[in-house]
């Protein structure tokens, strides 16, 4: 549960996204508090991934996308008061499909952070160990850090991507269906890692799996697609939303997930 004394770290205010004249997401508002896991849940096409890309400004890459509304991080607008590079370091994003860069496991872990920090060998080794432990991967790779990362399994690759994002020490973690193609063991490891990370970070998780949402979330934001446009339907604690859904969209979604 979100602690009552938690402070607001991210505030999404009336965000709408359109591609040219075609609206994709309309008027979505929610807050993220410190040390909580907020799950964005909803059917395909409801704009969950698009929202995540807006939050660390990867949506800026797509010239056709037009974003209105505001997102504040620690009280400051992410569109006006942050350098895009600093923002992406502060708000880390783990993608649905693990992307491994050519080279060793060690190189992959330090891939982003070595561009932000000057680390000597000892510091780099220490950091790699720390983040691999946080990502629940250390025990599986500690003897082959200098071997190619391509030999890892899909689940291990995803945890490696996790570790790579954690190495930059983000305050907020965005996770775009990180376990959608993983086996139960890897999914369990990632969920365990998320619950541990919650002690120091705030997390937004996009998932289709209601069971996963129930296992790890403090709150759920439910989005649904109406006439092809993603809208926020309901938000609240996991218990409230699952036990007494107010809208027919959420009821339908919950029935389909059972």
């Amino acid at each position: 549960m979100t602690n009552l004394h938690s402070s607001k770290v991210l505030s999404v205010k009336n965000i709408s996204v359109s591609a040219g004249d075609e609206p994709i997401v309309k008027d979505v508002s929610f807050d993220l508090y410190s040390n909580e896991i907020l799950t964005l849940m909803g059917p395909s096409g409801s704009g969950k991934s698009t929202l995540l890309r807006v939050l660390n400004r990867l949506a800026d890459l797509e010239s056709k996308l037009n974003v209105t509304g505001d997102v504040t991080c620690c009280g400051k607008s992410i569109f006006e008061n942050y350098s895009i590079y600093f923002l992406r370091k502060k708000i880390g994003l783990v993608f649905q499909k693990p992307c491994i860069f050519p080279g060793s496991i060690m190189r992959n872990v330090l891939f982003g952070v070595r561009h932000h920090l000057k680390l000597d060998r000892k510091e780099a080794d220490g950091l790699a160990e720390e983040v691999l432990k946080k990502a629940h991967l250390w025990d599986e790779v500690k003897d082959r850090l200098n071997k190619s990362a391509s030999i890892l399994s899909l689940g291990q690759k995803q945890r490696l991507c996790f570790a790579r994002v954690l190495a930059a020490d983000p305050e907020i973690l965005l996770l775009d269906e990180p376990t959608s193609s993983l086996d139960p063991h890897s999914t369990h490891e990632i969920e365990e890692a998320l619950l541990e990370m919650k002690q120091t970070k705030s997390i937004i998780l996009v998932t289709h799996q209601l069971a996963q949402g129930r296992r790890v979330s403090d709150r759920i934001v439910f989005l649904s697609s109406k006439e092809g446009v993603g809208r926020l339907i309901e938000q609240g604690s996991v218990e409230d939303l699952v036990s007494c859904p107010k809208t027919k969209e959420l009821k339908r979604y919950l029935i389909s997930e059972v």
Partner: protein, 286 residues
């Protein structure tokens, strides 16, 4: 059920593919065997290491080899940054499709210009107008212009083949564009770029027309001492002149020998670059 006509067509197609491959390899092989049989008898340490005498009828081709190597290295040093810059601007920095297409069209047009026109342009612009005179630098610059399309398009193709996931993941980690270029884009496309540079360089080393107006003379040059007005000897121009004197058996024999050395130089350049290409290819693999 697959009809017998379809099977027959399939077999015919496979046969034609093998036949074209065989003809291409055979022509290359026959050419090399002919060159080896005619040119090998002229080859000796003295031929390789001594200067030309009596207008190429006797002596060796030491300064021609040196001049050709100087031209190749100059071309390499000029074309490397130029094509890298051009390809990066075209593929990364320019966003408008129209500008990209125009730049690509410019490269294709440049690629289609006959080499003799490069020579004439180089003569009037670099040698006369800019006053560089006949020089190894002028020749190297002109050859670099000539192979620029090959190297740039090879690098552009390499960049276009990079998965957008890499770039997106790099950006999501807070990396800047220049960091992405040096950490992701160039390492990933370097193997294609090196292949393009090798293809271009192999062509440049064998070109006669552009350098005969701008860089090379037939005799009298040794080691260049300056940048301007500093001509060199070169193998392609040497061969060109010896073949014109081919009524003399020794001149013809030396022309075959020089041709074999030229081919060996091209193979040597490719051989030197091969480990770098393989390493770049290996490093780019996930």
């Amino acid at each position: 059920m697959v009809s017998s006509i379809r099977i027959w067509k399939n077999q015919l197609f496979i046969l034609l593919v093998y036949l074209s491959g065989f003809i291409t390899v055979s022509l290359l092989f026959l050419g090399f065997i002919l060159l080896l049989s005619k040119g090998f008898q002229s080859l000796s340490l003295e031929f390789l290491l001594s200067p030309m005498r009596e207008g190429g009828i006797s002596g060796g081709i030491f300064y021609q080899i040196l001049g050709t190597l100087i031209l190749a290295i100059t071309t390499l040093f000029i074309v490397f940054p130029l094509s890298m810059g051009f390809a990066l601007v075209k593929s990364i920095y320019i966003q408008k499709a129209f500008v990209k297409k125009t730049m690509e069209l410019f490269l294709y047009i440049l690629n289609g210009i006959p080499s003799v026109l490069f020579g004439i342009f180089g003569f009037f612009f670099f040698v006369k107008y800019l006053g560089w005179g006949k020089s190894w630098f002028t020749g190297g610059f002109l050859l670099a212009m000539m192979i620029l399309p090959t190297t740039t398009l090879a690098l552009s193709e390499g960049i276009n083949r990079i998965s957008s996931e890499y770039i997106e993941n790099g950006l999501a980690l807070g990396m800047r564009k220049t960091q992405i270029i040096f950490s992701i884009i160039l390492p990933q496309s370097f193997s294609s770029f090196l292949s393009g540079v090798l293809l271009g360089l192999a062509r440049a080393v064998g070109e006669t027309a552009p350098i005969m107006f701008t860089a090379t003379i037939f005799s009298g040059a040794t080691i260049p001492t300056g940048v301007k007005e500093s001509p060199i000897l070169s193998l392609p121009y040497h061969i060109f002149n010896l073949v014109q004197e081919s009524y003399h058996p020794q001149a013809l024999s030396n022309a075959w020998g020089s041709s074999l050395v030229l081919i060996m130089l091209v193979i040597l350049i490719s051989g030197i670059a091969l480990p770098f290409r393989l390493r770049a290819h290996e490093e780019a693999k996930v």
